[in-house]
């Protein structure tokens, strides 16, 4: 089963849950086989018991349950006789005797010859004793005695000595002596004799016993003899020298490594015995004290015999103990009492806890949880609200002298305030080396930047001008006036006075718009009260603002040239637009908040952040048609159910037969993660663009179709060195997308993004970098040109839908899967906030968010388009041809002065954006347009490494071009 193979790879701890199937497998098999057996002919069937064992055997092989549990025929059991036909060879008659059926005992009983030890080698005399007994019983049988029954053993004594005794006697041993080395020295001998004498003196009875035991024949003597010198006070022979008296397990020696304790123990025991004996006589005491004196420290166990060398002649050792013993009360004390007493007196060497132990248990502290960790799931707020807005405003700082820098700082601050802190970080990281951006990291203009940022944030957050926001710290008590201020309301008298003239016109507008979207949700300007006219002090501006709002929320056809307000410079217009955006957002938020209980709003001092969070609440009534509500948000992705799942759900697999698609990133942001160093590009862009910023006409770029000479966003090719690896190409792609994003940022800031000069010689290399192994360079390119020239147009048309997809296919097929996985993850983790942000901020529908969205749409379409195409064969071939066609395009493009082509594409792009906004412009040139779009994106697929290297050269070119423009 699959599980088992799984388990082999795993490290398992704990008791596995037992599977029922496995436990009774045999039983099941039996059941299953039973079913099969029934199908078999009768003579093939086998009878088995409920455990699946074979139970019946044939008549010739044992019969029912042959032998003891089927032992017949096995090694242990007997082998049944095999049948042999008596026709040809008669089975020989085996002669069976009675002995075949008798075991040894029976034979012995019958008086046969049993195998036994010969008397000569009867070591212990057992056989002799047995023999004697038998003889006696035989005799008794022959002539019955007065006492019936068998003769008691004690009376029957063997008449011969065992071989051991015989040998010993031959060696000089005599009955009654111990078996010892004969070299025992005189001291020992004399002591022994003395002891014997003492014993004799102590009692005749003892002596008699001794003698008796000495007279005892062989066995007893042999045992006792060795122990003889140990005093025996009783008259029973000591068989067990050291009876077990403790409660330890058998063979366990608690004093194995600490013999000194054993000494203590024996001493203590002997002392105990002393006390018992003290009452009886003094003799034992003497004896024991005598034997108790031995030198400490030498490994003498309780089981070892005391030898001469061990005895302490000087008897210095533990004499004091003796005295103690004397002092002690003679009453019998329990063991535990003794121990207690001993411990009290410190007899035992006791243990105590060491002050510093070397052994340390290794413990690991639990992982430290950061203080700001919140166990709740965090949801990305529209703007990183984690960002702290300082309560106190930074000091007002005069702008730096350099006006371009001022402009840059301004734009940057606005950007950061709008998009969140990560943009700042992003800029900071990307432009570390750029002196222009030093203000981000505390260089020149830092203070001004901080101030500007704060201002923008205030503007962004609040519904009032930043100067009035200063009073927001005193919100302790909420009055109607305060609330009005917070919500951006103006005092009543002033509004009525100021706005009465414009009211009727506005109402007309409202009516119109109401008529337009009856049955749709109310749009924002409907609910716009007079009080929420942020630019009321500038009527012209207010009008423009209203127009802006209309455009923004209404959709529909838009006048081609909305506001080429002649008096305003492009930069002013851009800035005003930003203002409008913030104002519109503020109004919207204010409206959202009115529905919410205000008390929850103002209870906290950190009100600004609070406001952000609350504003994310879904307000279905304020849902604006153009924009998605903040929550719930709906996103759709492709998902591949497994074929088997489809089958089980009884559904036709929607992806049947289609290969796994290589998934493309769904947003630009996720690519930024992979980006390593496209910093230089950013830097140069911004640098140059800041110079030529008066060119930038964002509004024109966004609202009008006919402004051709504005932001040139086309990034054309760069000279590159051949990139060898496909990874490089992949990287390049990522960077390109990132750069696209940067470019859009720049555009949003009202800055011009300089075009990049096409470079003829670079293209084939780039393409080769994109994956194939076109050897190189110009001549290759030219051949490609000539070859593909005639039909490449159509090819280009067909294949454009696929370009973005094919690049990684061609270049990094091997990386594909890995890459995809990574992308998915990162997208999940990183880009979602960005999506969110873009959606929330999309009031400025032409800003980066819109571009994001359109980009996303594009990518989705790619997936749709790309999948069927990638099915078709000859993928590689085609992609190569495509490359050629691109190279040709590029070539053509590079030849032409970039004033026309880029503007053309720009034009196209704008149109496309319009289409995305569901403004129904004509679609006649859509394919063409798409073509250019794709072409652009694909042409950007170059390696940035080299680009940045050569950037300086191009920079000059660009400058020149800008001059030309102006």
């Amino acid at each position: 089963m699959g599980v088992d193979s799984d388990d082999e790879d795993l490290v398992v701890y704990g008791t596995p849950i037992e599977r029922e199937e496995d436990t009774s497998a045999r039983k099941r098999r039996a059941v299953a086989e039973a079913g099969q057996l029934r199908a078999l002919p009768a003579w093939k069937q086998e009878v088995r018991d409920e455990e699946g064992r074979r139970r019946f055997h044939g008549a010739f092989t044992g019969g029912f349950s042959a032998g003891f549990y089927n032992t017949v025929g096995s090694k242990e059991g007997w082998t049944p006789q095999t049948f042999t036909s008596s026709r040809k060879n008669r089975a020989e008659l085996t002669k069976q005797s009675l002995y075949n059926f008798l075991d040894e005992e029976d034979i012995k009983d019958m008086g046969g010859n049993a195998l036994e030890t010969s008397q000569q080698y009867d070591t212990f005399g057992f056989t002799a004793a047995e023999y004697a007994r038998k003889q006696a019983s035989k005799e008794q049988k022959e002539r019955p005695s007065a006492i019936p029954g068998p003769i008691p053993d004690e009376l029957v004594v063997p008449t011969t000595n065992s071989i051991g005794v015989t040998l010993l006697m031959k060696m000089g041993w005599r009955q009654g002596r111990s078996i010892r080395d004969s070299h025992a020295d005189s001291l020992y001998e004399s002591r022994r004799n003395a002891r014997k004498a003492f014993l004799a003196l102590s009692g005749a009875k003892d002596d008699e016993d001794q003698d008796q035991s000495a007279e005892n024949p062989s066995l007893d003597k042999a045992v006792v003899g060795s122990v003889e010198e140990i005093p025996v006070s009783g008259n029973t022979p000591v068989y067990v020298l050291h009876p077990k008296q403790d409660f330890h397990g058998l063979g366990y020696d608690p004093f194995k490594h600490a013999p000194e304790f054993r000494d203590r123990k024996t001493l203590q025991k002997s002392r105990e015995r002393d006390h018992k004996r003290n009452d009886v006589s003094m003799r034992g005491n003497l004896m024991i004290s005598n034997s108790g004196h031995y030198a400490p420290g030498f490994g003498i166990g309780a089981l070892e015999e005391l030898d001469v060398e061990d005895e302490d002649i000087y008897a210095s050792g533990f004499a004091y103990e003796q005295t103690e013993v004397d002092i002690e009360p003679s009453k019998a004390a329990s063991d535990s009492n003794y121990k207690l007493d001993d411990r009290k007196r410190g007899f035992y060497l006791s243990f105590k806890i060491a002050s510093n132990s070397e052994y340390k248990l290794e413990r690991f502290l639990p992982p430290e949880i950061p203080d700001d960790f919140d166990a709740q799931h965090k949801f990305p707020t529209p703007v990183q609200s984690a960002e702290k807005f300082s309560d106190s405003a930074p000091l007002e700082v005069p702008p730096p002298e350099d006006t371009s820098l001022t402009l840059l700082i301004d734009g940057c601050a606005a950007m950061v305030a709008r998009c969140g802190k990560h943009i700042e970080d992003f800029y900071k990281e990307k432009s570390k080396t750029n002196p222009q951006f030093l203000f981000l990291s505390g260089g020149d203009g830092c203070d001004y930047y901080m101030r500007k940022l704060w201002e923008h944030q205030q503007k962004h957050i609040g519904q009032q001008r930043h100067d009035s926001a200063k009073s927001k710290t005193s919100f302790d008590k909420l009055t109607a006036e305060n609330r009005g201020k917070i919500l951006g309301e103006r005092p009543l008298d002033r509004t009525t006075k100021l706005h009465s003239p414009s009211l009727s016109a506005k109402e007309a507008v409202q009516l119109q718009s109401n008529l337009i979207d009856t049955f749709v949700k109310p749009i924002s300007i409907d609910g716009l009260p007079e009080s929420e006219k942020p630019f009321s002090n500038d009527p012209a501006k207010q009008v423009r603002f209203e127009q802006f709002l209309r455009d923004k929320y209404k959709g529909g056809l838009r006048a081609a040239n909305v506001t080429p307000t002649s008096t305003m410079s492009e930069a002013d217009r851009a800035r005003e637009r930003l203002d409008f955006e913030t104002a519109a957002e503020a109004i919207e938020k204010g409206k959202g908040k009115k529905v919410i209980d205000p008390s929850s709003l103002f209870s906290l001092p950190g009100m600004n952040e609070q406001r952000f969070v609350v504003a994310t609440q879904p307000e279905s009534s304020v849902v604006i048609q153009d924009e998605k509500p903040i929550y719930p948000q709906r996103e759709q992705f492709e998902w591949r159910p497994s074929p088997i799942l489809c089958k089980r759900f009884d559904i036709v697999d929607p992806f049947m037969g289609k290969p796994m698609p290589v998934r493309r990133p769904r947003s630009k942001m996720e690519n930024l993660i992979f980006m390593t160093e496209s910093n230089k590009g950013t830097k140069d862009e911004v640098e140059s663009s800041s110079r030529s910023s008066q060119h930038a006409s964002m509004e024109a770029a966004i609202f009008s179709d006919d402004s051709d000479d504005d932001v040139d966003e086309i990034l054309s090719n760069q000279p590159v060195d051949p990139v060898k690896t496909s990874e490089g190409a992949n990287m390049a792609l990522n960077r390109l997308v990132a750069e696209d994003f940067l470019e859009s940022l720049g555009k949003e800031l009202g800055l011009e993004v300089p075009p990049e000069r096409p470079h003829v010689s670079s293209k084939p290399e780039k393409l080769s970098a994109a994956g194939a192994s076109l050897p190189s360079q110009d001549e290759r390119m030219t051949t490609a040109l000539t070859k593909v020239n005639e039909n490449q147009c159509s090819i280009g048309m067909v294949q454009v839908g696929n370009i973005n997809e094919d690049a990684p296919l061609a270049s990094a097929e091997t990386l594909g899967m890995k890459y995809e996985k990574q992308e998915n993850r990162t997208e999940k983790n990183r880009s979602r906030p960005m999506h969110l942000q873009s959606q929330n901020h999309s009031p400025r529908s032409d800003s980066s968010s819109e571009r994001h969205r359109s980009w996303k749409r594009r990518s989705h379409r790619h997936i749709r388009n790309g999948t069927p195409e990638s099915e078709s064969s000859g993928e590689r071939h085609r992609s190569r041809r495509r490359k050629k066609s691109h190279s040709r395009h590029r070539k053509g493009r590079s030849r032409s002065p970039d004033s026309d082509t880029p503007s053309d594409t720009q034009h196209e792009r704008k149109r496309k954006e319009k289409r995305h906004r569901r403004t129904y412009t004509s679609d006649t040139d859509s394919s063409d347009h798409e073509h250019t779009e794709r072409y652009k994106s694909s042409s950007r697929r170059s390696s940035d490494k080299d680009r940045s290297r050569k950037r300086n050269i191009h920079h000059k070119h660009r400058r020149k071009d800008h001059v030309d423009y102006s």
Binding site: V3, Y631, I644, F649
Partner: protein
């Protein structure tokens, strides 16, 4: 309003009986398909099959090693599937109370489990941020599909004929349309505890941890209504629609049961059902009968 008023009168509010037997919290209670029986499971690691109309305990199923979090019976009443904190999904034979199979694959606790229409697939949602589908017809215990797009624990899973719909703590309700091959993500902005479907399968009811039950249009993702008033902040609690789709039923952490009118979202009824958190609610498929279970170890039948 009068019709809904009379309908509100008929809401199950009186306690018919209490099914006692579980030791410790009851984590889920579910009617079977025809509403004649019900299944409950809880912290005592057992599943119990009851007849809620008589109060009889029919059978007890023991095999789980840890708490059982969800149970579902097949439409033919022959099989059960249950899941729990022991990371396994047990596929039971109802009659013999024996485990037919154990599906493995989840790396963590399994929160929710469901049979599909044809009882051929078991789909489970787990704390390991995945939804997994297991094949009941094969011998393999490995998942046939793993969906790992969630960013946090998946709390609840529901199936239609063509879709797998799961709600997660990451605030999303994701519908995986097998027929279209599309994943639809509805981000609600608050952890989703329980996802249930209206009986016409056009609406999604998502119980969120901000003490709000949200009703979404399944096809458009539009937020149709929000139901508030109860407390649901930290427990996995069920909410569902009545069998006529006229009311929304939800439990509260203080032991109350709330009935909301579907369209306008006022609380039409509210009563205390349990002494502690109401963990699960199951509404009878045809009759005005409801089961509630609670942390206090009781299952109550309301008519």
């Amino acid at each position: 309003m009068t019709s809904s008023g009379t309908a509100a009168q008929q809401l199950p509010r009186t306690e018919a009986r209490s099914l006692s037997g579980h030791e410790g919290a009851v984590l889920a209670v579910r009617f079977n398909r025809d509403g004649n029986y019900c299944l409950s499971c809880g912290k005592d690691r057992t599943l119990r099959l009851w007849n809620p109309h008589t109060g009889a305990l029919v059978k007890t199923y023991k095999s789980h090693a840890r708490e059982v979090r969800d149970v579902h019976s097949s439409s033919d009443n022959a099989k059960l599937v249950s899941c729990g904190a022991d990371r396994q999904i047990f596929y039971w034979d109802v009659a013999s109370a024996r485990v037919i199979r154990k599906f493995r694959g989840h790396n963590s606790e399994v929160n929710s489990v469901k049979f599909n229409e044809y009882n051929a697939v078991v789909v489970s949602a787990g704390y390991d941020r995945t939804v997994r589908a297991f094949d009941c017809r094969s011998q393999s215990s490995d998942p046939i599909q793993t969906i790992d797009t969630f960013q946090d624990s998946v709390m609840s899973v529901n199936l239609t004929k063509t879709e797998i719909i799961a709600g997660s703590v990451d605030g999303t309700v994701r519908a995986f349309d097998i027929r279209m091959g599309r994943e639809t993500v509805d981000n609600l902005g608050h952890p989703v505890n329980c996802v249930s479907l209206s009986n016409d399968s056009n609406c999604l009811l998502a119980n969120c941890l901000d003490s709000t039950v949200r009703l979404l249009d399944k096809s458009s993702g539009e937020l149709l209504q929000e139901y508030k008033g109860h407390t649901c902040k930290s427990f996995k609690m069920d909410s569902c629609l009545t069998n006529d789709d006229a009311f929304v039923v939800g439990g509260s952490e203080d032991g109350y049961i709330f009935f909301w009118e579907l369209v306008d979202a006022p609380v039409v009824a509210r009563f205390r059902a349990h002494s502690s958190v109401v963990t699960s609610i199951s509404y009878h498929p045809t009759k005005a009968c409801m089961l509630t279970s609670s942390v206090d170890g009781s299952i109550r039948v309301w008519t």
